[in-house]
């Protein structure tokens, strides 16, 4: 899973590495915004610091010309709900006059199993759209991860993209720095979009994306700290982070818990197949013990959209007895079970599990298909009430 830095955090990392960024200050209240804007000098941009694409269109970025406008912008952006995310902080940033906008980025090309550097003169717009509509507008250079990026590769991508020769040297050097950051910080996607070119051929990173491989955070304590700052978003997803579950919230009313990504996805698909709508993806992972199972039930019960829950475990390293104990533990804490739970246990120690499981509290099914079908029925019943 990726850890996404906020724009202001990514810019800090980029600036430390020598990439030019506009003057900016972080602010979390209206007065702070106005003070920062006054100090930086107008025009400035006020930018919501949330992990949402298309912030500009959604009203999360405003360009202001004076203190009054800065106050208005701060008022409207701070505290707003941006595609489900609450805006607590804004970046107040020098507005850069530009003549051109580029895109530069490094990502992992999973098909090739190696990183790829990308450069485009079509910066400032959604690069995925460019990739689809005009793939030739993006120059790509694959990097051998054992050597890292050779300087000539940065140059090649830049010249291939048709970047103006007057800034090609600076852009190449930024691209190389970006790769070195990507490598040294275990980046997954590291991007500047737009990389602005001013009329005196200065090159400035006007936005900054830095997503980091969460599996590699153990070797980046500095980024782990940022992660805590960057945390946010949906309350349930925050809770899932605490419990360390692979969890995705969806829009339906059938809660789903299982072990193993493929099997949980399949359970989602079966819910759909039987006419229901999944409320979430929740993978307890391999070898879950009773407490973790109980936490999973707590997670799904916390989602008020959920009307019924299917609990599907196929034990490999996960043992049926632990699962049963966890379910009992979670449900026995309630006077009344909040939502109907359907359990299907298979694989390692499933018989032991069935003996332990308190069948008064749950509905048991033998097959995946039956379990899902039953849960969808329960969810419909609850829903109709």
């Amino acid at each position: 899973m990726d850890m996404r830095l906020h724009e202001y955090q990514a810019k800090e990392v980029f600036a430390d590495a020598g990439i030019p960024t506009p003057a900016s200050q972080l602010a979390s209240d209206v007065d702070g915004v106005v003070d920062a804007a006054d100090e930086i000098g107008y025009p400035v941009a006020v930018k919501a610091q949330v992990h949402v694409g298309g912030r500009g269109k959604a009203g999360g970025i405003k360009l202001v010309e004076n203190s009054e406008e800065a106050r208005e912008a701060a008022d409207s952006i701070l505290g707003m709900d941006l595609k489900g995310y609450h805006v607590d902080q804004v970046l107040v940033e020098e507005a850069v006059d530009f003549t051109n906008e580029l895109y530069v980025g490094i990502t992992m090309d999973r098909g090739e199993g190696k990183p790829v550097a990308m450069v485009s003169t079509k910066g400032g717009v959604n690069i995925e759209e460019v990739a689809e509509e005009d793939p030739d507008a993006i120059a790509r250079e694959h990097i051998d991860p054992s050597f890292g990026m050779h300087p000539y590769q940065a140059r090649k991508a830049v010249y291939d993209a048709g970047v103006d020769r007057a800034v090609a040297r600076d852009v190449s050097s930024i691209l190389k720095t970006l790769y070195d950051l990507w490598e040294s910080k275990d980046g997954s996607d590291v991007e500047i979009n737009p990389l602005m070119i001013t009329d005196d051929d200065e090159v400035i990173a006007a936005d900054a994306v830095m997503n980091v491989d969460e599996d590699a955070l153990f070797r980046h304590p500095d980024l782990e700290e940022m992660e805590e700052e960057a945390a946010g978003g949906d309350e349930l997803e925050r809770k899932a982070d605490e419990y360390d579950f692979d969890y995705v919230r969806l829009s339906g009313n059938v809660g789903i818990i299982g072990n193993g990504a493929g099997l949980v996805m399949t359970t989602l698909d079966l819910v759909d197949h039987y006419g229901g709508e999944p409320a979430n993806f929740l993978d307890v992972g391999g070898g879950a013990k009773a407490e973790r199972i109980a936490n999973a039930l707590d997670m799904v019960f916390s989602d008020e959209n959920v009307d019924a829950v299917v609990f599907n475990i196929f034990g490999g390293i996960t043992r049926g007895d632990e699962v049963a104990r966890g379910i009992n533990e979670a449900l026995e804490a309630f006077d009344e079970i909040p939502k109907p739970v359907v359990v299907r246990l298979a694989g390692t120690n499933w018989e032991e599990g069935m003996e332990i499981l308190n069948e008064d509290l749950v509905t048991v099914e033998q097959t995946l298909e039956d379990a899902v079908e039953r849960t969808v029925e329960y969810a419909e019943e609850v829903n109709e009430q």
Partner: protein, 290 residues
């Protein structure tokens, strides 16, 4: 024989003195796997799970003629453990570890192009030739000897499908869990090629999931090179774009690549029926072998 593993396979377990390593070494041996050694730096000279432990894989190969490694090493050290396995002239290394940093795997991927050792995984349940040997963490009791080859990106989904097969008396030649990470060693095409050339495999199940283009490439490969009948399954039809479904690899990108539709239609175009449910996959296999 079936593919990759049989009862002649001589296994060294990297990380055999850890909790998981020891438990599964014992489980593998109980299933009949020929585990001959463990390798754990600093623990050379000890015994674990009844076999001698060496400080290096190299020594385990020298002393016990190991030809295959199964890797139970924590993610921070697993990339190094895989490199060690690849640099020891083994035939096969199976990496069970989940959560290896992607950049470590990119480097491993480079090294794979320079060596003759095959890697399965990481983040996979391993592989099994029922009745002969298993390498990894798959629950042996759900498998049965037979002629269905199975390859899957997912662990527990594999068990589910195998369960459906075994219940109907459709045993397996070999089942290979290739793992759910974005960068893996053996991929679908490698496994399909092995099964196609295996005399004991008469039908193949291929379980894919959303994300990447491996299933599409596998479909093209099947169209060109595979005569053995293949039935498919794709998990994640209902996954919304941009949300990662557990596996690092299981994500439909914002630009729409990696969707279940694309994979299913590619497979269908290659003549591969794709089941809506695991039961339906078993239906197709039953028909093939009828």
């Amino acid at each position: 024989m079936s593919v990759l593993v049989d009862d002649d396979t001589r296994v060294v377990v990297q990380g055999i003195t850890g909790g998981e390593g020891k438990f599964h070494a014992e489980q593998m041996m109980e299933y009949g796997t020929n585990v001959v050694a463990g390798a754990v730096p600093g623990k050379g000279g000890q015994e674990a799970a009844g076999v001698p432990v060496y400080d290096t894989v190299h020594e385990a190969v020298e002393e016990e003629n190991a030809d295959t490694s199964v890797i139970f090493v924590p993610p921070a050290f697993a990339g190094d453990a895989i490199f060690e396995a690849l640099d020891t002239d083994l035939d096969l290394a199976v990496a069970i570890t989940e959560g290896i940093p992607t950049q470590d795997m990119a480097k491993v991927n480079k090294r794979l192009s320079e060596t003759d050792t095959r890697l399965v995984g990481p983040n996979c349940p391993g592989l099994i030739t029922p009745g002969e040997a298993k390498l990894g963490i798959l629950p042996g009791n759900i498998f049965a000897e037979g002629n269905v080859g199975l390859v899957s990106r997912s662990g527990t989904l594999t068990y589910q499908v195998v369960d459906n097969l075994t219940e109907r008396g459709l045993g397996q030649s070999t089942a290979i869990g290739i793992g759910g990470d974005p960068i893996i060693g053996t991929n679908f095409i490698d496994a399909l090629e092995l099964f196609e050339n295996d005399l004991e495999t008469d039908a193949i199940v291929m379980c894919g999931e959303i994300g990447g283009e491996d299933e599409e490439q596998a479909a093209a490969y099947i169209d060109e090179h595979v005569d053995t009948p293949v039935a498919g399954f794709i998990a994640g039809r209902t996954a919304p774009p941009g949300k990662r479904m557990g596996h690092a690899g299981a994500i439909v990108s914002g630009s729409g690549t990696g969707t279940a539709e694309s994979k299913i239609s590619a497979l269908n175009d290659a003549g591969v029926p794709v089941g809506d449910t695991p039961e339906e996959v078993a239906d197709h296999i039953e028909e093939f072998l009828a």
